[in-house]
Structures are given as structure tokens and as C-alpha cells.
């Protein structure tokens, strides 16, 4: 049995990061993620790690680049506007093939948006986290516990792939307090430092340069290697929850907080005899294509994309798998206005009873 605590999602991410081996954090304040840096500011020194409140988002992500190059498990966190500022640095991490954990506790957008929660950064997270056509694996937990589990192992993926990992969680889940069970501290020694790290310690042969600058043919081969990595993710690393799909006539696709609220609505609709199920992507990239592609479209009459953003951003990824075999509906709230149980229930009910067939 792990250790149980009543924690905010943000604090749970911070503690799970430390237990997963994080020993460096740099960031710059922004709501609704401030509990992450606040927590790490006292927690990291307790375990011999380093915490820096940078002078800016850009400086912070580049400090993470430096720490990671030394083989340290390093992370930064922010919310939408700050992630945009970090985009250059994240792209450089990908170019230099450096692992890192980036956390986006998302809020309303675009621009300054709203400090209230929203799921408005799906496209940024999955399509273009920075320039240059790279991807990061994107984890989208829907509870503090799942955030703990995913963050705890984030560096295993990041170091395996030598690529940053993004955790995308809305400000609601970041600020909700729930009970979590914490895993033990990972015992990492110097021997666990990645082979490629710029360590100067005795007995190691590895000295060298880590660079995001390559000659053209080498850059091309690095691009191709990244492409192979993304393909492997699709085969091996997709995480998805499939809920009540066996007889479902309508299938909700929702992640994060939207999936929690949708599940409550689905349980209520099931009690009333409506055959509704749900596909919940836990990894947004790689996207759970097979789950949507392999639905029995002789039975499924509609897909309902529920997101806490307007317009829905997952819709194109869903459509590429549905291939016009049934209509795709969408429901959402946006701008910092929250989804709620009754709202999602009423929206789904209207669709399944034929009140809305315009997609």
C-alpha cells in the first residue's frame, strides 16, 4: 500500500514528479498551475534537487534544457500563454533529443484568455507544441491519482525516446483536491544517468556536445528517426479507457475533466435506458485511433465530442477514424465557464433523442 494523501491535482503532480526522480524545476508563475512551483520550491531542496523561479518562461525552459543535458530529470510547468512562450525551448529540447517533463495546466484562451479552467490547448499540445514538426507524447489524466501515475513514469518514456513528454491537464483538475495514493520514491543513482548525458564524473568516457544544430543530411536522418519513434508510440504506447462500448449506440469521446462529467451523465442516461458509452483518450498523442476506427458502425448512430472548449478541437482526429460512417456531434463550454453534470446530460440526451441531428 502506498501513502494516501488529500491533495490538489497540482500538488499531486509535483510530489509524483519528485518521487519519479525529478531533481530540477524552473518555471514562472501563472494561474492555475502555481501550486506546482510553490510545492516544488520547498520539496526539491528536501531531496537534494534544485528549484529556480526563472525571470521568464523562456529562461525557465532553457534552464530545463541545461539540466536535462547533464542527465538530471528536469521539468517545467505553466498554463497556455506560458506554454506558448516556452514553445521555442520545447522545440529545441526535441531537436537536441533531450528528455523533459512539460506540464500545461490549461485555462481559457486564446491570448491572455481567462484564469479559469478550460481545455483549449489540445491542438497546441498534439499538433504543434513548437515549430519544426516534432511531437511529444501527451498524457491527459482525468484525476489526481491518474496524474500521479502518469507523471511518476513520465521520465521513463522521455529518456527512452530522448524526447520531451507533455502532461496536459485543465485548471479544474489542477485545483481539485482528491485523495491520492503515492508511489515510493524511485531510487536513482549516478549509474542511472543516461549514457549520453554531459556528465563530468570520474570513470566515464562520455564527454561531448549536445546540440540542436545539425548539418542537413543529419537533420534529415534525425527527422526520420523521430517519425519512426512516433509510429512506435502508436503501436505500443496508446493509453485509452473504453467505457460501456459493447452495446453503445452513441459514443462520447472526451478526455480530462470532460470525461469525468460525461461519465456521470452516461451513468444517468444508462439508468434511463439510453445506450451511451465513452472512449477516453489518456494519451492524446498517440491518439487512440483504433478504439474509434473499430467501433461497429452498423450499431453506432453518432459520436459525441465533449470538451471544455468551443469549438471542439479533437473533432478532426475523431473524424479521420470515423470516416463519415456516422455523424459527429459536439458539446462544450469555453472561456473559463465550466462543464457541469446537468449540462452534459441534457446535451447528450438531446442528441440521442434526435433533437439535434445537424452534427
Amino acid at each position: 500500500m502506498g501513502e494516501k494523501r488529500f491533495m490538489k491535482g497540482n500538488e499531486a503532480i509535483a510530489e509524483a514528479a519528485v518521487r519519479g526522480g525529478c531533481r530540477f524545476f524552473a518555471g514562472y508563475p501563472i494561474t492555475p498551475q502555481n501550486e506546482i512551483p510553490e510545492y516544488l520550491s520547498w520539496r526539491l531542496p528536501e531531496v537534494g534537487g534544485a528549484y529556480v523561479q526563472g525571470e521568464s518562461e523562456i529562461a525557465s525552459v532553457n534552464m530545463v534544457y541545461g539540466a536535462s543535458a547533464m542527465g538530471t530529470r528536469a521539468m517545467t510547468s505553466s498554463s497556455g500563454p506560458g506554454i506558448s512562450l516556452k514553445a521555442e525551448g520545447i522545440s529545441y529540447l526535441a531537436a537536441a533529443m533531450l528528455p523533459a517533463l512539460i506540464v500545461n495546466i490549461s485555462r481559457g484562451g486564446p491570448g491572455l484568455g481567462s484564469i479559469q479552467p478550460a481545455q483549449s490547448d489540445y491542438l497546441q499540445a498534439t499538433k504543434a507544441l513548437g515549430h519544426g514538426g516534432f511531437h511529444a507524447m501527451v498524457f491527459a489524466p482525468n484525476s489526481a491519482q491518474e496524474a500521479v501515475d502518469l507523471v511518476y513514469d513520465a521520465w521513463e518514456y522521455a529518456e527512452r525516446d530522448r524526447n520531451p513528454v507533455l502532461v496536459l491537464m485543465d485548471g479544474c483538475l489542477g485545483n481539485i483536491m482528491e485523495e491520492v495514493e503515492l508511489p515510493p520514491m524511485k531510487a536513482l543513482s549516478d549509474e542511472d544517468l543516461p549514457e549520453w548525458s554531459l556528465t563530468r564524473r570520474n570513470g566515464r568516457d562520455y564527454q561531448g556536445t549536445i546540440t540542436p544544430i545539425y548539418t542537413e543530411p543529419i537533420l534529415e536522418s534525425i527527422n526520420a528517426m523521430a517519425g519512426e519513434t512516433y509510429k512506435a508510440w502508436e503501436e505500443e504506447d496508446v493509453k485509452v479507457e473504453e467505457f460501456l462500448l459493447d452495446d453503445a449506440e452513441y459514443v462520447v469521446v472526451a478526455y480530462g475533466i470532460a470525461s469525468r462529467v460525461s461519465k456521470e451523465a452516461i451513468l444517468r442516461l444508462r439508468e434511463e435506458g439510453y445506450k451511451v458509452g465513452m472512449i477516453r483518450p489518456i494519451t492524446l498523442f498517440p491518439f487512440p485511433k483504433q478504439s474509434i476506427r473499430n467501433l461497429d458502425y452498423s450499431r453506432v448512430k453518432g459520436i459525441i465530442d465533449v470538451e471544455m472548449t468551443i469549438p471542439a478541437q479533437m473533432r478532426d482526429d475523431i473524424a479521420l477514424q470515423v470516416l463519415e460512417r456516422c455523424p459527429i456531434h459536439e458539446y462544450g463550454r469555453s472561456g473559463g465557464c465550466l462543464l457541469d453534470d446537468d449540462g452534459v446530460y441534457e446535451a447528450i440526451l438531446e442528441i440521442v433523442t434526435g433533437g439535434n441531428d445537424n452534427g
Binding site: T31, Q116, I176, E179, R260, D341
Partner: protein, 181 residues
């Protein structure tokens, strides 16, 4: 059974603290609980709201539209949230600050001048604990003893008088809550 609580008022009135304490106590009793704070950029005086859901089973959605219990500390919050309590639910108001007529006749209304009572006890800051006491007395949602344990933990680094004052406030609230049946 699933029960939802929405605490509303302005920053500095102990809204968040009351919500966390309630949720924490429920967890300590072996129940499941979620706590969601919502507030503006102001440190004091802005709108403050938190939602607590308590359930015997795992909580699926932490975002109910309508709550079973609405706790309101001032008139601004009352105007904003009065429609958010379910018919038959509990509407608990701070009558030290809410003087107007309550435009709901389908709820169980409990009005108590918690600011005045807190001042009479000797510390205006315990108004929120009086509200928690009223909720316990009126609904039995958590056990008094477990809540006191939670307060002990919360105030473990403060002078013993702080805990004593909070327990006095809790008792005063429970008495009001019990007599509201």
C-alpha cells in the same frame, strides 16, 4: 449517499478553509470527497466559491450544476448563486450580512447571524466554523469528533487558544443546526 456543498462569499471570509475542512473530515471518516476552489485574481474581497462533493463511493464528476447544500456569506453571493441549490436542499445564510427577503420557498432555509455570533465568542474569524457546525447539526454529514481532529491538525502550529476558539465556534454552530430541525 452523494451530497454536494457549495460555499460562497468573498475572499477573506474563510470560504475555502471551510470547504477544505469539510472535505478533509469526510476523507478521514473513510468517505470519498472532492474540493474545487473557484476565485478571481483578487487576494481579498473578490468572489470566492468552492464546491465539495462527498460520497460513499468514488466520485465520478466533481462538477454538479445544482447542489444539495448552499452556504452563503453575503448578499452579492446570494444574488449570484441562489438558483444553484436543488429544491428541497439546504440554504444556509449569514443573516449578519443578508437582510433582504429570500426568494426561494422550496428549500430548507437556515438563517444565522454567524458574523455577530463569532464576534460575541471573541473572534470574527471563526464565522466559517460556526457555519460548518450548523451544517453538521442540520445534516449530520460528518462527525463532530472527526472534524475536531481535523481542526487539531490544521492548527497544530498555533497557540492552543486558536483550537479552543474554533471548537467553541463549532459547538455554537451545532446547537443552531440541531435546533433547526
Amino acid at each position: 449517499m452523494k451530497q454536494s456543498f457549495v460555499f460562497t462569499g468573498s475572499g477573506g471570509q474563510g470560504i475555502m478553509s471551510a470547504g477544505i475542512t469539510l472535505a478533509h473530515t469526510a476523507i478521514d471518516m473513510g468517505k470519498h470527497a472532492t474540493y474545487l476552489p473557484e476565485y478571481g485574481p483578487e487576494q481579498r474581497g473578490g468572489s470566492a466559491k468552492c464546491t465539495v462533493v462527498i460520497n460513499d463511493d468514488v466520485i465520478v464528476s466533481p462538477l454538479p450544476r445544482m447542489c444539495d447544500n448552499l452556504i452563503v456569506m453575503n448578499e452579492v453571493a446570494l444574488a449570484k448563486f441562489i438558483d444553484d441549490v436543488k429544491p428541497g436542499g439546504v440554504l444556509l445564510i449569514n443573516s449578519s450580512r443578508i437582510k433582504g427577503k429570500i426568494e426561494r420557498d422550496d428549500v430548507r432555509l437556515i438563517a444565522a447571524p454567524v458574523d455577530d455570533i463569532a464576534l460575541q465568542l471573541g473572534d470574527g474569524r471563526v464565522a466559517n466554523i460556526i457555519l460548518l457546525g450548523i451544517l453538521i447539526g442540520a445534516t449530520g454529514i460528518v462527525a463532530k469528533e472527526t472534524l475536531i481532529e481535523s481542526l487539531k491538525d490544521k492548527f497544530k502550529d498555533k497557540k492552543p487558544q486558536v483550537l479552543e476558539m474554533n471548537i467553541k465556534a463549532l459547538d455554537a454552530g451545532i446547537e443552531i443546526g440541531e435546533s433547526s430541525h
